[in-house]
């Protein structure tokens, strides 16, 4: 199912690759590189899935996630968190804050695609 996927990632090459992968299977994507823009774009564009990197400038991925969950306009947005390998503690914190799924960097492309698809179809 084609969905709208918002990508929040500060590494331009990774963002470009994610967009390529997702668009190739029919999704529409938009990309933001800092935490503050995520909220603005999410409210305005109403994506089906947010792919959210943990390490973002201005607002961290945790802060963005908390803000998403406390904003009634986007509180139900499914969030796929990108966390770093070996950082189990980050994953626990993200779970506490309401992340729906996780992909560990370095990720496999098929893993990202299947998780986005699962979140998009609810």
């Amino acid at each position: 199912m084609a969905s709208k996927v918002l990508i929040a990632e500060d590494e331009a090459n990774i963002a470009e690759l994610l967009r390529f992968l997702l668009e190739r299977v029919g999704h529409t994507t938009r990309w933001v590189a800092d935490g503050k823009s995520v909220l603005d774009v999410a409210r305005e564009w109403q994506p089906d899935v947010l792919v959210l990197d943990l390490m973002l400038p201005s607002l961290s991925g945790f802060e963005v996630l908390k803000a998403v969950r406390s904003d009634p306009a986007i509180a139900g947005l499914p969030v796929l968190m990108l966390t770093a390998k070996g950082q189990e503690k980050d994953r626990r914190l993200a779970e506490d804050l309401g992340a729906n799924a996780f992909v560990t960097k370095p990720f496999s492309n098929t893993d990202v695609l299947s998780r986005v698809a699962a979140l998009a179809t609810g």
């Binding site: 590494e11 090459n13 990774i14 770093a84 390998k85 914190l93 506490d96 990720f107 496999s108 492309n109």
Partner: protein, 523 residues
């Protein structure tokens, strides 16, 4: 307290070296031979004029005779002998004076070696902290992972075998080239940073090993929660309230009598946490000045040992402990956990905590519990799918040492020794019995809410110094608004936070006027 220096040995040895008889020397000193015999056997302490006379008789200077060097040696070795590893090796602290008197050079060499070992242990712990918390390293590793991610993802696309337009193919080749270069650069940076140093990090100290195992389990043991719930059901089936039920359970299920012992007759040293179980007489003695919450917890602790013996043994077996002493310590800690799970049932306590917005004073009243008991329980509310606010926990003594620590993700606290002098846990000692809150910002910009309060380990008489400790709960400021402790705080305002560090030896703040120790890495 260090035993008296073995002056007697030195007097006896010197007298013999000079060829004097005990009777002859006693006569010269104007004392009886039997009294000199007692002095030489270290059974009489002497001083003042008699000591000066003996020094004169033996042609020794006063300081050599009083044995100041030996006294220092004994102080150091006595301290070392009381450490768990030495106790485990069968070292008897009472033999220190004899050892120092007979082999002073060996004693000095042993003490120097032990001190060197301790210093190196601290360095290893500090370097281990640095590995875990260093912001430079953390940033470097993040960059490595990002570059590897880009390379892996690109490689998968290229390998996928799909026909890619030339322009796209060239773009992906460029990404691999660019990211590979950055990866090599980041890896070289890490190598340069470490400069080939490779510290290890094993503790061997029972209390630290127990803390480490609790941390590895995220402070939550589902099997013990289950055991605590079952124990509570058993107690609830007994009439007469929780305290009576605990006493009844111990008596009827295990033949253990609970008895109050007068503090006038008891040797307080034998009562860990104001209670002692005597297996021979099947009696749990609780000091009569113990608070009701302590009394209840001590009964629950013993009951948990017996009720949940298998679950506790399994949890110990599943942990990583290097000695029997550590396993014993773990058994006690896990029994406390089970007791806590019984006295503060998970679901009800979590519901109350959320409803009362983690107001510890209100929870204390609701559960007739102490501050420390409530704080401890809050830390364990980590059940998957039904967790509370993630709290860390620290306990400190007035000398600054951290005697218990359950860290949080991203919270840079040292593995051993003291914390930052600016932490609320230390401020709390200045206002005993009053809660201190603080928004603390660490050098890596992580912000945490600190909630500290002193606790009295046991009541003391007027003539004794108070037995205070300070307990601190810690939560990421991101969760602070779920607690009453953020009320009235504008967490987004500038200047609301206190700039703190992990501990002076790990702290990179150059301009801190509270620095008590140089940083281990030059600033």
């Amino acid at each position: 307290m260090v035993a008296a220096a073995p002056i007697g040995f030195r007097i006896k040895q010197r007298r013999r070296d000079l060829g004097l008889t005990q009777a002859g020397m006693a006569q010269n000193l104007g004392i009886s031979a039997s009294y000199l015999n007692l002095i030489e056997a270290n059974k009489r302490t002497i001083g003042g004029r008699l000591l000066q006379q003996i020094a004169q008789q033996l042609d020794l200077d006063f300081d050599s005779l009083t044995g100041e060097t030996e006294r220092r040696l004994m102080a150091g070795l006595s301290e070392a002998a009381s450490e768990p590893s030495m106790r485990q090796a069968g070292v008897d602290p009472a033999s220190v004076p004899d050892f120092v008197g007979r082999h002073p050079a060996w004693a000095a060499a042993l003490l120097a070696t032990l001190r060197l070992g301790r210093a190196q242990e601290q360095t290893v712990a500090a370097l281990s902290d640095r590995l875990a918390q260093d912001p430079v390293l953390s940033d470097a590793l993040h960059r490595v992972i990002s570059h590897v991610t880009a390379i892996r993802s690109t490689a998968e696309i290229i390998e996928g075998g799909d026909a890619l337009p030339t322009e796209m193919r060239e773009r992906f080749d460029a990404i691999i080239g660019e990211e590979s270069g950055k990866l090599a650069e980041a890896a070289q940076g890490i190598v340069r940073y470490f400069d080939a140093s490779e510290p290890g990090s094993t503790s061997g100290i029972p209390s630290e090993e127990v803390d480490d195992n609790f941390i590895a389990n995220a402070n939550h043991f589902p099997a013990l929660e289950l055991a605590g719930d079952e124990m509570r059901k058993t107690l609830d089936s007994i009439a007469g309230g929780l305290d009576a039920a605990l006493a009844d359970y111990l008596q009827n299920a295990h033949g253990i009598a609970v008895r109050a012992t007068s503090t006038k007759r008891a040797d307080g040293m034998q009562y860990r946490n104001q209670a002692r179980f005597d297996p021979a007489s099947r009696t749990l003695e609780i000091l009569d000045n113990a608070s009701p919450s302590t009394r209840r917890f001590q009964m629950a602790h013993l009951a948990a040992h017996l009720f949940a013996a298998d679950a506790i043994a399994e949890a110990v077996a599943a942990g990583r402990y290097s000695s029997d002493a550590a396993r014993d310590w773990a058994k006690r800690a896990l029994a406390s956990y089970t007791a806590s799970a019984c006295l503060f049932p998970y679901e009800a306590f979590l519901q109350d905590a959320e409803h009362l917005r983690y107001d510890i004073e209100m929870l204390r009243q609701r559960y007739a519990a102490s501050f420390e008991q409530v704080a401890h329980r809050l830390v364990t509310l980590r059940r998957a799918g039904a967790s509370g606010v993630p709290f860390g926990f620290l306990r400190a003594d007035p000398a600054g040492s951290l005697s218990k620590r359950f860290p949080l993700p991203g919270l840079p606290i040292p593995r051993s020794g003291t914390g930052c002098p600016l932490w609320a846990i230390y401020n709390a000692f200045q206002t005993p019995d009053r809660l201190v809150r603080q928004v603390a910002q660490f050098p890596n910009r992580a912000r945490f809410l600190f909630i500290a309060h002193t606790v009295t380990r046991r009541p003391t008489r007027f003539s004794e110094p108070p037995f205070l400790r300070s307990v601190m709960l810690i939560c990421d400021t991101i969760f602070a608004d779920r607690t009453v402790y953020a009320d009235g705080l504008d967490l987004s305002a500038r200047g609301v936070e206190t700039p703190v560090g992990p501990t002076c030896r790990l702290c990179p703040r150059k301009d801190c006027q509270h620095r008590a120790e140089a940083a281990i890495v030059p600033l």
